[in-house]
Amino acid sequence: MKMEVQDISKQIIDPKNLVYDRSPLMTDNVLTYCPGCGHGVVHHLMAEVIDEMGIQSETIGVAPVGCSVLAYEFLDVDWLQAPHGRAPAVATGLKRIMPEKYIFTYQGDGDLAAIGTGETIHACNRGEHITIIFINNGIYGMTGGQMAPTTLPGMATSTSPYGRDVSTMGYPIKMTELVAQLPGTYYVTRQAVHKPGNVRKTKKAIQKAFENQKLKKGVSLVEVVSNCNNGWKMTPVKSNTWMEENMFPYYPLGDIKVDGELVK
């Protein structure tokens, strides 16, 4: 019996049978994300895209403040760690001085849609030829589950313990739809990574967002609606179900702007 298992595993790891592999652009550092979180999947997709495009030596990432502050530990490219919310401005400085390089930011909802709203909107409005990867999990994960700009109405967090009361706390902001209205954005899409089909779609979106930099036609922004099982106080599986039932109706998946044209 034991022999059989070993034989099967040998067949599986035979290179010609491999469907998925660990990207060589992922470092050996242990991921600091909670088990069940979507960050690791998106990191791997970026690593795959950068590797497959052969642009490792031309790519510079800008890490945010938040759960992914240590993103630079995991992807084997040059990185900067920006002040909270300022990644699009830092990326602007990099891109303006090195227009032929691939510059991307990786930001959460607190970083991109609260403290960095100004930098996000103006980088999009100037049409910087950069890629923005935006992870929206509706909560501040790193600081311990506080209300985010994208927290849903009625959703309980540590700073909205009785649920987000929109009459005093305002409404969840749809930054992706907002920046899609600006002529400086070229590709704007919203995806997820909780199921294999979604993972494949997100990879295609990330690839398009990087390839667009060659066209010099403005910002490409990929929002990934993700879970925060820890912050939401749920099991990983339950958090994904909750995300489908509650996050997706407010943040519908799909392309919002493609090749500079709004999707009707």
């Binding site: 490792q56 030596s57 031309e58 790519t59 510079i60 800008v62 890490a63 502050v69 240590l70 630079y72 084997d76 490219v77 040059d78 990185w79 900067l80 760690q81 920006a82 002040p83 300022r86 401005a89 830092v90 990326a91 602007t92 400085g93 990099l94 891109k95 303006r96 001085i97 090195m98 390089k101 100004g118 930098e119 103006h122």
Partner: protein, 356 residues
């Protein structure tokens, strides 16, 4: 070909010198009394002259972070602003100092606090020389006293910034920024720098490990280690101290003043000597590092010192620390946008120092 001697405003001299010093990029946001820097640059089309990038940001927060991004590529990057704008820079400056990136930051100081006035002031001395943002760090601070020095210190600033991988501040004020003077401009410098470029984030090539520019250390023991490294660098920077002595050889009473105040005090030295008072002037050119050693030595030779600054008394604390109680040290200065006259300074010198 441009003539090498021009009549320029201080702010225009900064801009022209930035192009000539081989700056790769300028990022800024309009604010009085320094908007001529960005205006001059936009008019001059430096992208055609040298390939320099000039961009008007949407805010000072964005501008300093664009500096952060471009500086990480190991390029010569410069920005300018005035007091309220420089307050907004502080977060970014702290990150830039923590991540040890070279850049030149110009502050054309105006009266504060708050929105204050648009007239000249020297009330940003504490902010500039003691750190400014959060954490233990220092900028290397140059204080020009003429339009000529505004131009020269841009070039010097880049050299020092790259030498130490540290942000350099040119601390000027609305007076020097706005006056027009004859400037002899240095010749065009190449945009490339000869300094070490092994740390830059320009894309990981197969011949090296990836470069990471960050000011974050989650382990406090590592952050302490990083701070020790920074402190060692600041100690090394002490060798860059620069100052000018005016009528100091036989002086019995010494004024200490930088920038615009030093120009006022230069006249006061004349007025005092006309009255038979042997006054001298020590002008710190670097405010960090500070000429403490020179002042301590001078304290053995003079009877008293007057720190003259357009503030309620900031630099006077450094003069007192340098003198260490050997002789009386007093402060005089108009502030909130007011500039003292040479006679006002003379009266203060007589009242506070000579007659005591």
């Amino acid at each position: 070909m441009k003539k090498d001697i021009l009549l320029l405003k201080g702010n225009e001299a900064i801009a022209e010198a930035a192009i000539r010093a081989g700056a790769d990029a300028y990022f800024g946001y309009p604010i009085t009394p320094q908007s001529e820097v960005l205006e001059y640059l936009m008019l001059e089309k430096p992208e055609e002259r040298t390939g320099m990038v000039v961009l008007q940001a949407e805010s000072e927060l964005a501008a300093i972070n664009m500096v952060f991004g471009a500086a990480s590529a190991g390029r010569k990057v410069i920005t300018s602003s005035s007091s309220p704008g420089v307050s907004l820079y502080q977060e970014g400056i702290s990150y830039i100092a923590g991540a040890e990136l070279p850049c030149v930051i110009v502050n054309i100081v105006r009266g504060g606090p708050g929105l204050g006035t648009i007239q000249p002031s020297q009330a940003d001395y504490f902010q500039s020389t003691k750190g400014g943002g959060h954490g233990d760090y220092h900028l290397l601070v140059l204080a020009p006293a003429s339009v000529q020095e505004m131009a020269d210190f841009v070039k010097l600033g880049f050299e020092l910034a790259f030498k130490y991988r540290n942000p350099v501040m040119i601390l000027s004020d609305g007076l020097i920024g706005q006056i027009m003077e004859k400037v002899e401009l240095f010749e065009q410098v190449d945009r490339a720098t000869e300094f070490d470029q092994s740390w830059v984030t320009t894309g990981k090539t197969p011949d090296r490990e990836r470069n990471i520019i960050t000011s974050l250390n989650l382990q406090s023991v590592m952050q302490e280690k990083h701070n020790f490294k920074l402190q060692a660098k600041y100690k090394k920077m002490q060798s860059e101290v620069r100052f000018e002595e005016i009528e100091c050889e036989d002086a019995e009473y010494l004024m200490v003043a930088y920038g615009s105040s030093a120009r006022v005090c230069q006249k006061t030295v004349q007025l005092a000597r006309d009255k038979g008072i042997k006054a001298g002037l020590l002008r710190p050119i670097t405010l960090y590092p500070y000429p403490s050693g020179k002042l301590n030595e001078m304290a053995d030779r003079v009877k008293g010192m007057l720190s003259v600054e357009m503030s309620a008394g900031q630099m006077v604390e450094d003069v007192r620390l340098a003198v260490n109680g050997k002789i009386p040290v007093e402060h005089y200065g108009r502030f909130g946008g007011m500039v003292h006259s040479p006679r006002e300074v003379l009266e203060a010198l007589e009242e506070k120092i000579v007659k005591k």
